[in-house]
Amino acid sequence: MLAELPLLNRPDLLLIPNRMPAPGEQFRFHFDMSKCIGCKCCVVACNEQNGNPAELNWRRVGELEGGVFPAVQRLHLSMGCNHCVEPSCMSGCPVEAYSKDALTGIVSHNADTCIGCQYCTLNCSYGVPQYNEARGVVGKCDMCQNRLSQGSSPACVNACPEGAISIEIVNVEEWKSGLMAAGNAPGMPSALDSISTTRITLPDNVLPDLDRVDRERVVPQHPHLSLVLVLVFTQLSVGSITAIWASHLAGAVLPVWAAIAAFAVGALALAGAPAHLGRPIHAVRAWRNWRSSWISREVITLGAFAGLAQAYAAALWFQVPQADMVGAAAVVAGFVGVYSSSRIYLLKARPAWNTGFTIADFFLTALSLGFLAVAPAWGAAMMVAQLALQIARFDAMRTAEEFERNATASLLTGVLRGPFVARFVLGAASVGLAFLSPMAAFALAVAGEIASRWLFFASVVPKSMASTFLKPGGAR
């Protein structure tokens, strides 16, 4: 794309490289925090350049403060995309909407390919990809690569009155082997998360307590209700097929409709899954990136589970002798599916999710609900394990040193306290009722797991670059 960059006699063009990257190199942003005055011209220029609505800012400016009056430091962090060496947006994207240019290293996103699953918005530690609700697709900074290819500077570089933003060439190996410290700054999640390439120049004598000013503005995240239902009901389906299969192996005789119902719940949940996409019509593409995306793997394995569960139900119906074999295959596919589902959420960008608790949580949802429907004693035991796990998870958050995990705990005991308590009351009640009224116990348990998964999404505190003190868009 970029042939030879014409260097005109314009000062802003001194802020972009006058050659293309050589092999082993790529373009990157340099942000000079010591020059930035916090005017936010870059944000406005970026929105104008890309025709974005007010609430989408592909470049953002965060505020940092440290010190004690009057020896105070106020600094600003301006950031677009970090055009990472190992972009997590790209590896997680199920439809290969992202690409990293082989020559320039620019990570760009193709809106035509995007199905609006928003996984990339969860996956980036810097909060770069943003979902355009009106359009149903994600968008992000592409370093104005088409401007660069014309030899003109990106909109943010061009707009900055202080010349604080520039484009430069980085040697990727040198960067990875030690120089990456210059990619870190207060208010910026670790450059290691996905090998961010942005270089940040800090002023001299940065105060040790310099920190982002939005720390106390922790608010619940979007609960993604359709995802909550898809997860709980696919897990319920996997769990109940497992329970039915195990019961059969143990010699119990269960009505065939149980297997049909178990299959149907999972199939319905999977059929409903595209509802959470911005572009459901293109949901079929979601298997495409099976090499690196856990979403693609989830789609494939849960799809296989649905097929095998259906075959299992049919085998039971027709009393096929090999039914147990088919059931075993369905259980294996289901377990791989639940595992894939859980791995989707093991993200550096979401510390409260990024633990083994998430995997255990998803499996215990599957097994507790599945067995409560079929073998209440086993189900109650699984539910006790699930509640114990939730307590252990909360305690791990509460005592964690990491800000985001800690903040998750404070959300759970703060604004989310109601649903958090309800989750335990429902779970405990289901255990208590398991022998008196298995149907009621099952219903309460499903409600409890839905509340739990809702809290899973609502209480996660994402890593992101520093924001402003005021919540963009308003306090209400």
Partner: protein, 727 residues
């Protein structure tokens, strides 16, 4: 409820075209929505920096703006407001029809109502019973026309502008020290000075484009005097966090050190100033020790700053509202001027006492105005000046007013007392910007007829209006703005005003026609250039000489500094008083003895905090414009209150709590609390942009006896938790 969009629901990308890109011939690769078929050069309509810019239009609509490459003021850059200025033109609340008592009327009926109601009031209650308050947002041509219309046509002296809430103290300070208004320096001085002191001026938030001049200056020592750790303080080599309103003490203390250590420019003082002896004895009391007690700044720091300023090759002192918004505002300007005169830091490259103005045309209104002085900085009290104007205008000299009328706050007070019965508010929004809103509401309640002429409708002020007149705004009208450094810039028409809105110039001429004075005071005028050409003649030979400035020249060089008579390089940089000759009778500048007095609204047990108000970079004044620009409103969506964490802890308040400010005059609700070390213990800060949480409910309308500028700063308040709780 939005209608169901089935295409969006199933995921067809029906906004693909809206997010398409184009390779624009001027802008390069950019959003296709910004592709313009015509570019119009103009000057920004927000602040007084006066940035050159271009508006791109397509099919008669403004679709993009960009900085004017190589423009001497902004070097092609714009601030965030300027970068999105065109979005304000299509705001949903643009005023489009005249409204009389809330009902749409034709222009002729609207203007007949205005004239007949005002004339009736004048017949019954005297000529001065109608008041007019306009704005530094008007173009010079418009303001010049309005001045003649009001003082010669309507004949009322109750005429003022919102510049009195802003720059009056600077204007009066200059007049008292130098014999005339007019900032002596230029922006180039910010690049050339080796010592810069900014007093009560947060340019990083309010004049961000000036920062590039400051930052381009690598040899400077920058001192920022501000009680709060502003963004500007962060640029400084030395920040002096003075106690509120102790700037006079600091400046007097510097002068004391300069005299004590023999650092004054004795030759300059002897040749070009009056009042040195009395100043010298007056200043003897302002020892660093005393000044340290008053300001909270260490004595050795005061000595150091004084030595640095006096020893500088070129010393620059700039200021804005921290100085002006004070009952001693004009006098504070005099103390700044004292320093410049004692050291000779004036009239040279880099050396100036420099008032950084507020609105885009505050300067033009000061020069052409008929408010605090007559056009061309002429004095009401000067017989010669009145005769000059009578001759220029072919009028009997008795028609020329011999006194200044009421200033803005006095017009409001007179209305509250029932003396002013009719009021015409043009392009300003006192229901947000005026101090002590209770008093303003009292004034509005007493009015028989309130006319509000504005580009937006409704505004908080137009809610009180009997008659609303829809006006064109920046981008829709032609004329000139004069910026802080006396540079005249051209503003041009890019698009037509919406609906029936008219340029203010046209409205004024139409009123004159209904009033019957059009042919007499605006003979053969049809367009703004007619006013400009008359103004050029009227200003000829004055300090603010525009005689050599033409529209063609402005288009060509992108702004010309006055005085310009047509000789020399129009693009060159000019400074006033290079020869040390001032505009006083004897040509000498006057030194003033100014005591540092306590501010009027002192904190006590009931109101323990000192409130300071100000701005943020995203918004312009009362937000009639910027709240309509989505990206700006998104970044600064609501009002807040800054408080030191130690005070917050004591009061049991946390960041993001909603708090209420209460003063002796009123209360303001739902400010989002920000506990921060950028504000000193015992002080709080709030922006004044937000009508939803209007901090001017609590501010005071005590005014400077000289400039009549209100003391917006230093107001005693207490802070309570709002009844509506956390966010």
């Amino acid at each position: 409820m939005k209608p169901l969009n089935w295409k969006r629901l199933i995921g067809i990308d029906n906004l693909r075209n809206e997010y398409a890109y184009a390779d624009d011939a001027v802008l390069g690769y950019t959003s296709a929505r910004r592709s313009a078929d015509r570019w119009v050069k103009t000057t920004c309509g927000y602040c007084s920096v006066g940035c050159g810019m271009e508006i791109g239009t397509r099919d008669g609509k403004a679709v993009a703006v960009r900085g004017w490459e190589g423009h001497p003021v902004n070097l092609g850059k714009l601030c965030p407001k300027g970068l999105a200025e065109h979005h304000m033109l299509t705001a949903p609340d643009r005023a489009v029809h005249p409204l009389l008592h809330g009902k749409r009327v034709a222009w002729n009926l609207a203007l007949e109502a205005l004239v007949s109601r005002f004339r009736n009031i004048q017949k019954q209650h005297g000529a001065d019973a109608i008041g007019v308050v306009s704005t530094g947002q008007l173009l010079t041509e418009e303001f010049y026309t309005l001045g003649k219309l009001i003082r010669l046509g309507f004949g009322t002296s109750s005429f003022c502008g919102n510049t009195t809430l802003c720059m009056a103290s600077a204007a009066y300070g200059y007049k008292r020290s130098f014999g005339s208004d007019g900032p002596p320096g230029a922006y180039e001085d910010l690049r050339e000075a080796d010592f810069i002191m900014l007093v009560g001026a947060n340019i990083a938030d309010n004049h961000p484009i000036l920062c590039q001049h400051v930052e381009a200056n690598r040899d400077k020592f920058l001192v920022v005097v501000d009680p709060r750790v502003t963004k500007t303080a962060m640029l400084a080599n030395l920040h002096l966090p003075v106690k509120p309103r102790s700037d006079i003490a600091l400046l007097n203390g510097m002068a004391h050190v300069i005299l004590r250590e023999g650092l004054a420019n004795r030759e300059y003082v002897a040749r070009h100033t009056s009042g040195f002896e009395s100043l010298q004895s007056f200043l003897s009391a302002y020892t660093p020790q005393l000044v340290s007690e008053l300001t909270g700044i260490a004595p050795e720091t005061i000595v150091d700053v004084a030595r640095r300023y006096a020893g500088a090759r070129a010393g620059f002192i700039g200021w804005t509202m921290g100085v002006n918004h004070s009952t001693q505002g004009a006098e504070t300007v005099n103390v700044i001027n004292n320093l410049a005169l004692l050291t000779g830091h004036i009239g040279r490259k880099g050396a100036s006492p420099f008032s950084i103005t507020g609105q885009c045309n505050a300067m033009g209104t000061r020069e052409t105005g008929f408010t605090s002085s007559m056009p061309g900085y002429r004095k009401f009290e000067s017989v010669q000046d009145r005769e000059d104007l009578a001759a220029l205008w072919n009028l009997d000299v008795n028609r020329i007013p011999a006194r200044r009328g009421l200033a803005y706050p006095d017009i409001i007070d007179a209305a509250a007392e029932g003396k002013v019965k009719g009021l015409w508010i043009i392009g300003t929004n006192p229901a947000v910007s005026y101090p002590n809103q209770g008093q303003l509401r009292k004034a509005f309640a007493n009015l028989e007829f309130l006319v509000v002429q504005d580009a937006f409708q409704p505004t908080p002020t137009s809610e009180f209006a009997h008659l609303c007149l829809p006006a064109a705004v920046w981008g829709e009208k032609e004329g000139t703005y004069t910026n802080s450094e006396r540079r005249v810039g051209k503003a041009n028409v890019a698009v037509q005003p919406p609906g029936e809105a008219l340029p203010d110039f046209d409205i004024f001429l139409r009123v004159a026609r209904v009033l019957g004075c059009k042919d007499e005071i605006f003979p053969n005028w049809t367009q703004p250039e007619d006013a400009f050409n008359e103004w050029r003649r009227v200003s000829e030979g004055r300090l603010c000489d525009y005689s050599g400035i033409t529209y063609e020249l402005l288009e060509k060089v992108g702004g010309v500094q006055w005085p310009y008579t047509g000789e020399g390089d129009p693009a060159g940089v000019s400074r006033l008083y290079a020869d040390g000759r001032f505009q006083t009778e004897d040509g000498r500048a006057q030194l003033y003895c100014v005591p540092c007095e306590p501010y009027p609204d002192q904190p006590d047990e009931e109101f323990p905090f000192v409130l300071n108000t100000g701005r943020t970079v995203e918004h312009w004044h009362t937000r009639t414009k910027t709240r309509n620009v989505g990206v700006l409103e998104h970044m600064a969506p609501n009002a807040w209150l800054e408080m030191n964490p130690a005070d917050g802890k004591r009061l049991g308040l946390r960041s993001h709590d909603f708090v209420t400010l209460v003063s002796r005059r009123g209360a303001v609700n739902r400010l989002e609390l920000r506990l921060t070390e950028i504000t000193a213990p015992g002080q709080v800060f709030a922006p004044f942009h937000f009508f939803e949480s209007n901090v001017n409910e609590v501010t005071q309308d005590a005014c400077d006896p000289i400039s009549r500028e209100p003391n917006f700063k230093q107001c005693a308040v207490r802070v309570e938790r709002s009844l509506t709780h956390r966010s």
